[in-house]
């Protein structure tokens, strides 16, 4: 069967559900953000949209899993899925690149210019006399008030170790899958999920600490902006990744996947490694230097 011709599904119903879901979700968010009279329906619309999207994902993945387990996918279909996942991850890399770009630009150009370096001499003299370029900073106007930063070799270091370990555990799971040892597979999967959850726990702690004790908020000038947007989007990816890992763990328990046929597993593993690598970059550029 694996060498049969290319499977082309007919009449996909989930995509249109997904489009409607996205439409509701973003319209709801937009209403919500705007406040004002119609804001009341915003949260509800957003929630309904999100629920629709989640429903769509369940339905869509269920279809795919069913087809996969029925053996409809030959190696070419598998290769298409792989291509899809690789390029999707590449697009995510570029999304993060935009925010890293903002961080580097601010640190290497914007802040020094405000401090009078290079072409910024007159900017500093006329607009911000006395302002010196330092990092971290919340700018010449001290936007958001005094704040302190989260030290790198503390919880962030711990979180680095947690994520690195989870990269190892998922590799162990992969080995177990290749050797068809179900028990070990499930164990390592659950361990990975647990590490993901632990990471999130510490990150939430860190955010609470930052807001309550350090005075560091999203509004703390350019430092707060880049810090929270980078770590925040990363945290969202960890959340999604953890949920996907959990789903895969359940599928492992349900007896899905074979040593030669487990694209779903690998896709999630790739995603998890990607999240891992982004964190390493974050740890280095946001916390350490």
């Amino acid at each position: 069967m694996a060498q049969g011709s290319y499977y082309v599904p007919h009449q996909a119903k989930w995509p249109i559900v997904g489009s409607i879901g996205l439409f509701l979700m973003v319209s709801g968010f937009a209403n919500w953000m705007n406040g004002g009279n119609t804001a009341g329906i915003g949260p509800w619309m957003a929630a309904a949209g999100a629920a629709t999207v989640i429903l769509m994902m369940f339905g869509w993945f269920a279809d795919v899993i069913r087809e996969s387990e029925r053996g409809l996918y030959n190696t070419k279909v598998d290769a298409s899925f792989r291509q899809g996942m690789i390029w999707f991850i590449f697009s995510e890399v570029m999304f993060f690149a935009a925010f890293f770009g903002a961080l580097f630009y601010a640190r290497m150009f914007a802040v020094p210019w405000l401090g009078g370096v290079g072409t910024g001499a007159m900017t500093n003299e006329l607009l911000y006399p006395g302002f010196q370029a330092t990092w971290p900073t919340n700018g010449p106007a001290n936007v958001g008030g005094e704040f302190q930063t989260v030290p790198a070799f503390d919880v962030p270091l711990l979180n680095t170790l947690i994520l690195l370990t989870s990269g190892w555990t998922i590799t162990m799971a992969h080995w177990a899958l290749k050797k068809m040892k179900r028990g070990a597979l499930v164990f390592w999967m659950l361990a990975t999920v647990a590490l993901g959850a632990l990471f999130l726990f510490y990150q939430v702690e860190e955010y609470i600490h930052a807001y309550q004790d350090l005075g560091l908020t999203l509004g703390s000038g350019i430092y707060g902006s880049t810090f929270f947007m980078l770590t925040g989007f990363h945290g969202m990816h960890v959340t999604v990744g953890t949920i996907m890992l959990l789903v895969i763990a359940f599928r492992c328990m349900a007896g899905h996947f074979r040593p030669d046929h487990h694209f779903g597993f690998e896709a999630v593993a790739w995603y998890w490694h990607f999240v891992d690598v982004v964190w390493l970059a974050l740890f280095l550029f946001v916390y350490v230097v």
């Binding site: 405000l114 007159m122 900017t123 010196q132 010449p140 001290n142």
Partner: protein, 395 residues
């Protein structure tokens, strides 16, 4: 035989296309050569590059039309079989590179010249606001605003019966020109108080963006006296098209006279001391001037605003309500909207007058008078806040 044919038709095509191009250029407008050393450099650069690309275009199109003319099926042309020629491809890679290098060299030279702003004899700080310019002569201590003149402004209103053709320099005239001396190396320091604008006078040969929170530099040296007109060149909101720049270059002697007039004149025009109490008539008269110059762009001269983005001030709850709140809105602005913090731009006197005017015009007969002394505390508080944060930043 074939080759000679192609040569003859090719040359004919070059001739025909050259004539057409010449005709096309002849009916059109060209860039101004301007009145400064830069503007002439830039113009020459423009002409060189234009000339080069025109020749390239003529040759490419001539080759193509030769082929179209000769190698038609209807003329019985048989398709050749070649698909490749390494030699030809190397030629048409290398020649364009050489041409580009030839363009890059003068461009680099001119650019390096223009970017060197050292050795200025005079500094003028230009600040863009929605939708007027502020000019501050750093050495001579002069500062004023420059907005679209009244005639143009009246004619440009939708449904106005005034034809633009009857207005002198329609949209290119201001109420107060930027006056500068000729033959003087002037450094222009550009910034903005709200959104990005761009200060452009074609005759000076450059434009440069005015960016909020940043200061850009450029310089100029005008050789001929005259009036040079330009416009804001970066989209800055609804009246972006109505934000002209007018530079009047006069001899250094005339410039000194103008400076004397400005500094001397201002004192006589002063309505007493800046913080003195003013009577109702003075407040209303001065307020109308300020309002028309600084507020009417958004809230309209009759206070009717432009719904829904720009609220009407006629019958407005804030304007007819609590005075302190009213002062607060105008001094500190509404962040995230076009309503700017006018405490940073206008003097207490001006704000007080504008407030009094809006509270008593357009049918808002509150009868309230706002005095400079009422406004000063808020301006001071605002200033304090900025100083404190600058201070903190310095530590």
């Amino acid at each position: 035989m074939k080759r000679t044919n192609e040569m003859i038709v090719g040359l004919a095509m070059v001739a025909v296309i050259t004539v057409i191009t010449w005709g096309v250029f002849a009916v059109g407008d060209n860039m101004t050569a301007g009145v400064t050393p830069f503007s002439r450099d830039v113009y020459q650069l423009h002409m060189i590059v234009l000339g080069i690309v025109t020749v390239i275009g003529i040759l490419v199109f001539a080759a193509m039309f030769t082929s179209i003319y000769l190698h038609r099926k209807s003329r019985g042309a048989e398709a050749a079989k070649f698909t490749h020629s390494t030699r030809a491809e190397i030629i048409w890679t290398v020649i364009p590179i050489l041409i580009l290098v030839a363009m890059a060299i003068p461009a680099t030279r001119v650019l390096i010249d223009m970017e060197d702003t050292s050795g200025a004899e005079m500094n003028i700080k230009v600040t863009g606001y929605q939708w007027l310019w502020q000019y501050e002569y750093l050495e001579d201590g002069i500062s004023f605003y420059s907005a679209l003149d009244r005639d143009s402004n009246a004619a440009r209103q939708i449904g106005s019966d005034i034809s633009p053709r009857e207005v002198d320099n329609y949209l290119l005239e201001v109420d107060k020109r930027m006056v500068v001396p000729t033959n003087t190396r002037i450094r222009v320091l550009l910034t903005s108080g709200d959104v990005i604008h761009s200060w452009w006078v074609p005759d000076l040969g450059w434009k440069r963006d005015a960016i909020p929170g940043m200061v850009n530099e450029a310089w100029t040296l005008i050789e001929e006296p005259g009036v040079y007109r330009g416009q804001c060149a970066e989209l800055c909101g609804k009246d972006h098209g109505f934000m002209p720049v007018v530079v009047e270059a006069v001899s250094p002697e005339d410039y000194r006279a103008w400076v004397a007039e400005q500094t001397g004149g201002q004192q006589t025009a002063e309505v007493g001391q800046p913080l003195d109490e003013m009577d109702r008539d003075t407040l209303m008269a001065h307020g109308e001037d300020i309002y028309d110059a600084h507020c009417a762009a958004c809230h309209r001269e009759d206070g009717s605003g432009m719904q829904p983005a720009f609220p009407a001030l006629a019958g407005n709850a804030v304007v007819t309500g609590d005075v302190s709140q009213h002062i607060d809105v105008v001094v500190n602005g509404r962040p995230g909207t076009a309503m700017a913090a006018f405490g940073q731009r206008l003097e207490a006197r001006d704000i007080a007058a504008a407030l009094t005017y809006t509270r008593n015009a357009f049918g808002n007969e509150t009868g309230d008078l706002v005095q400079p002394a009422d406004v000063v505390p808020l301006i001071d508080a605002q200033l304090d806040e900025r100083l404190v944060s600058a201070d903190r930043a310095a530590n």
